[in-house]
């Protein structure tokens, strides 16, 4: 059941009506049934897997919470971590690991591949709920969180349908209390949720899916494209990924809001960030905060406590290792490893040099210089992020390098002659190709990106919802109708493309 499909809209409508028509104490049960149905709509095969996982995790977390002996609690925690990480490694990394072992053996003159693992597809959202449950266990172990007594609510925490596919990775302290204290139906929440869902669907099926047409052609045929078309594909991918994932998050948060639940925000205008650190504070926030709280800080604390370590090890290792884990979490491919390492290096270098440069420019007397510095840093950050996205999207490392190499062949004379002749068709010709976007859709894509950025900029300064709610009813309803038809008629196609983060 695609979140941007009509099917999901009907499912959500029925769930909301049933949820608010049920007495408070049984409402969590309605959500659990809806979550099971939603999970099984992707294929019923894994319902037993997730049920077993819930039972084991519930038992282990209870034991961690109950046992007074720290050593025993630690053993339970390690058991819990292993039990949760093993399926993740099995489903996501076995094929990749076996390929690497085969490569090594081949170099050692073993003629044939030794491993041919036949791994079934991974259960939906395994990467996300594994991190959610690990955080829950670690919080219980550290005493930040009490274990949930009711298995049904714990099951719901693990499988809450809006979060099932790609998060956000919720913390128990935020979500579990909400299951025990359901709210009444709130008209304002429902209206806000609906608007947010509509905005998310717009980002997904109007912007992301349109950009995907161009991006897929270039990244899947890297030998065929050179110069500016490649650059455009990289920029388009940056916005495709953002609109795809933030669109998904908007739908999820909107759906939860309609049910009266507040979930973690996952994005905060990331492409307006003026540093990589700020970028990670506003991109996939639930993952980056998880990595920060459960890998970066503990690792840094441990390294700081170790005496005799060189300063550069203490400074460079935590961001590098954290981002390496982030890369590997995204998928079993060297491209993600490189992408993670790149961001780790960005962060490590930035932490070293950036504060001094920032201080210098912030104290500048001429405000225009400070503003220009901020703008240049935002641009620079965006370019560095885009460079990373090449590895994130490319099918393999050699294709990523091929694409990066192809950028150099800019063919400037061709474009200059087109500009000189005021020939727009000639200028756009390299960007129009079989299976790509036509001229109108190409220009529309660029306009949509500009529109998106303007809305984000505007919403960071004024409360658009408030302004909108103060409009006369007829205007608001007129806008709703126009927006609905805008989405329907400008969409690329109905529920054809999966969300990108679905694969992770």
């Amino acid at each position: 059941m695609q979140l941007s499909s009509f099917y999901f809209a009907i499912f959500l409508g029925i769930t909301i009506v049933l949820y608010f028509s049920t007495p408070y104490r049984f409402r969590w049960f309605i959500l659990l049934v809806a979550s099971c149905y939603f999970y099984m709509s992707w294929g019923p095969d894994y319902i037993f897997f997730i049920t077993l996982s819930i039972l084991i995790n519930f038992y282990i977390s209870k034991e961690i919470s109950r046992d007074p002996l720290p050593e025993k609690r630690k053993i339970y925690l390690i058991m819990g971590l292993v039990i949760n990480l093993l399926p993740l490694v099995y489903f996501k990394y076995t094929v990749f690991l076996s390929e690497q072992i085969d490569n090594v053996l081949f170099r050692l003159n073993f003629p044939q591949a030794l491993f041919h693992p036949n791994i079934p597809p991974a259960p939906i959202g395994i990467s996300f709920y594994t991190l959610q449950v690990i955080a829950y266990m670690l919080d219980i172990y550290k005493g930040f969180q009490k274990s949930e007594n009711q298995i049904g609510k714990f099951a719901l925490f693990t499988s809450f349908f809006p979060l099932q596919i790609s998060g956000p990775i919720e913390r128990a302290k935020n979500l579990l209390p909400q299951f025990s204290n359901p709210t009444d139906f709130n008209y304002a929440n429902a209206r806000f949720g609906l608007k947010r869902i509509a905005w998310g669907v717009f980002k997904k099926i109007v912007i992301a899916d349109r950009l995907a047409i161009y991006v897929d052609q270039v990244f899947n045929h890297p030998t065929d494209f050179k110069g500016f078309p490649v650059l455009l594909a990289i920029f388009f991918f940056a916005f495709q990924l953002y609109c795809d994932f933030s669109g998904y998050t908007d739908i999820v948060l909107g759906a939860a809001k309609m049910l009266g639940y507040e979930l973690t925000e996952n994005f905060n205008s990331p492409y307006f960030s003026s540093s990589i650190q700020k970028f990670w504070n506003s991109w996939h926030i639930s993952l980056s905060s998880w990595l920060r709280d459960y890998i970066f800080f503990p690792l840094r604390r441990r390294l700081l406590r170790q005496k005799g370590l060189p300063e550069w090890v203490v400074q460079f290792s935590p961001p590098l290792i954290t981002m390496l884990v982030c890369g590997i979490w995204h998928g079993a491919n060297w491209t993600f490893v490189i992408w993670g390492c790149l961001h780790g290096n960005y962060l490590a270098i930035e932490n070293q040099f950036r504060p001094r440069i920032d201080r210098y420019f912030e104290n500048f007397r001429l405000k225009i210089i400070s503003k220009m510095y901020y703008a240049s840093q935002t641009f620079m950050t965006f370019m560095l992020v885009c460079f990373g996205w090449v590895f994130f999207r490319a099918n393999n490392v050699s294709e990523a390098f091929l694409l990066l190499g192809n950028i150099a062949q800019l063919n400037i004379i061709y474009y200059a002659s087109a500009i000189w002749a005021h020939d727009a068709n000639k200028f756009l010709k390299p960007f129009i190709f079989n299976g790509g976007l036509n001229q109108g859709n190409l220009l529309l894509s660029i306009l949509l990106i500009v529109f998106l950025l303007n809305i984000e900029l505007l919403s960071s300064r004024v409360d658009l919802h408030q302004i909108f709610d103060n409009l006369p009813t007829i205007l608001r309803w007129g806008f709703y109708v126009l927006a609905t038809f805008g989405i329907v008629l400008m969409s690329v196609d109905v529920s054809t493309r999966n969300f990108i983060y679905f694969q992770f």
Partner: protein, 342 residues
């Protein structure tokens, strides 16, 4: 919550009313455009029973641009007509055949385009305006867009979305809309009752329905393709569903006593994926063996055509030289088939 549900219901009613209005407007705006440009009057001739040819070709641009009916007529000694249509897909071709048989005498031989694009269901919604002539009287045409219950509901609610790919054309075609309004909404009468349109567009060469674009006639490949186009990949994941569609067509042809020839048109070397090509050829060969009077002609790797740039307009369309050569080859094969069936 009752208040919220009540408002949602009112909103849905408003949406449906707006959708009906929009849908009618799109249909009203697009229909004359289709009648004027898409087939250069061929469909109108067909609906008035004025074609009555012995050999009729159905297909996309790779039929309309590749087949010269005059050459086919000359080679086979039978009258020929090209009902190929730019952007047309298998379903639309099938609907055209059904309607053709209603209004014209049954041809001796029907040639259907059967290539990779015919097996790709994602192309079903490419150029949806081609279904417009059938929309009035064929429930089948509309059902093509509904593969599941939620999709059916979606298209019932947003029937205007069927036209979404043509919205730019409607916007650009303001002159046509303006003229229609000026003439009380009737610049071109509905297709089935209209007189035969004879449209002499300067950029087309018309030969028995064949639509040879002028650019194609004089086009030189290197001028039209300064940048190489990538290999075209098709979605063949639903090939079994397509098999059912082809089966239906073959049974229909068998019941009507038609000789059905499936033609895989030529592609420039490297234009389509080799593995996909082989899959499609196997698929069509197996199908053609299932029924009597069904033939499959494979020109996907025509050695005369695929190596020479002189014959191509772009990677998957022949120029006039190529089209004439290809028509001769097809004509000779059809001649053999007709003789063997006499």
């Amino acid at each position: 919550m009752a208040k919220f549900l009540y408002k949602i219901l009112i909103f849905l009613v408003i949406l449906k009313i707006c959708d009906t209005l929009l849908s009618s407007f799109f249909f009203w705006s697009l229909q004359p455009k289709i009648a004027l440009t898409e087939d250069i009057g061929s469909l109108n001739r067909m609906y008035h029973g004025e074609i009555n040819a012995d050999i009729v070709f159905f297909g996309s641009s790779r039929t309309s641009l590749h087949i010269n009916p005059e050459i086919i007529q000359h080679t086979t000694g039978e009258t020929a007509w090209n009902l190929g249509n730019d952007g047309s897909n298998f379903e639309q071709q099938e609907l055209t055949l059904e309607d053709y048989l209603l209004y014209n005498k049954t041809p001796k031989l029907v040639a259907f385009e059967a290539d990779l694009s015919s097996l790709d269901p994602s192309l079903l919604r490419f150029k949806t305006e081609l279904f417009l002539p059938y929309r009035n009287d064929s429930s089948n045409a509309f059902n093509l867009f509904n593969s599941s219950w939620d999709e059916s509901l979606y298209y019932w609610f947003f029937s205007s979305s069927v036209y979404k790919q043509q919205i730019p054309e409607i916007l650009v075609d303001y002159k046509n809309i303006f003229n229609r309004i000026k003439n009380g909404g009737n610049i071109v009468e509905p297709l089935k009752v209209s007189k035969v349109l004879t449209v002499n567009r300067p950029d087309y060469v018309l030969i028995n329905g064949a639509q040879l674009k002028k650019g194609q006639v004089s086009g030189q490949l290197p001028q039209t393709l300064p940048f190489p186009s990538p290999v075209i990949h098709f979605d063949l994941s639903q090939i079994t569903i397509r098999e059912r569609k082809f089966d239906e067509l073959m049974q229909f042809a068998n019941n009507r006593g038609l000789i059905l020839v499936l033609i895989f048109p030529p592609y420039m070397k490297g234009e389509i994926d080799e593995e996909q090509r082989k899959t499609a050829i196997d698929f069509y060969l197996q199908l053609s063996r299932k029924y009597k009077n069904i033939y499959f002609l494979d020109y996907s790797q025509d050695s005369q055509l695929d190596n020479s740039l002189n014959f191509w307009w772009d990677g998957n369309h022949l120029n006039i030289k190529g089209a004439n050569l290809f028509s001769r080859e097809v004509g000779q094969e059809l001649n053999q088939i007709i003789k063997s069936n006499k």
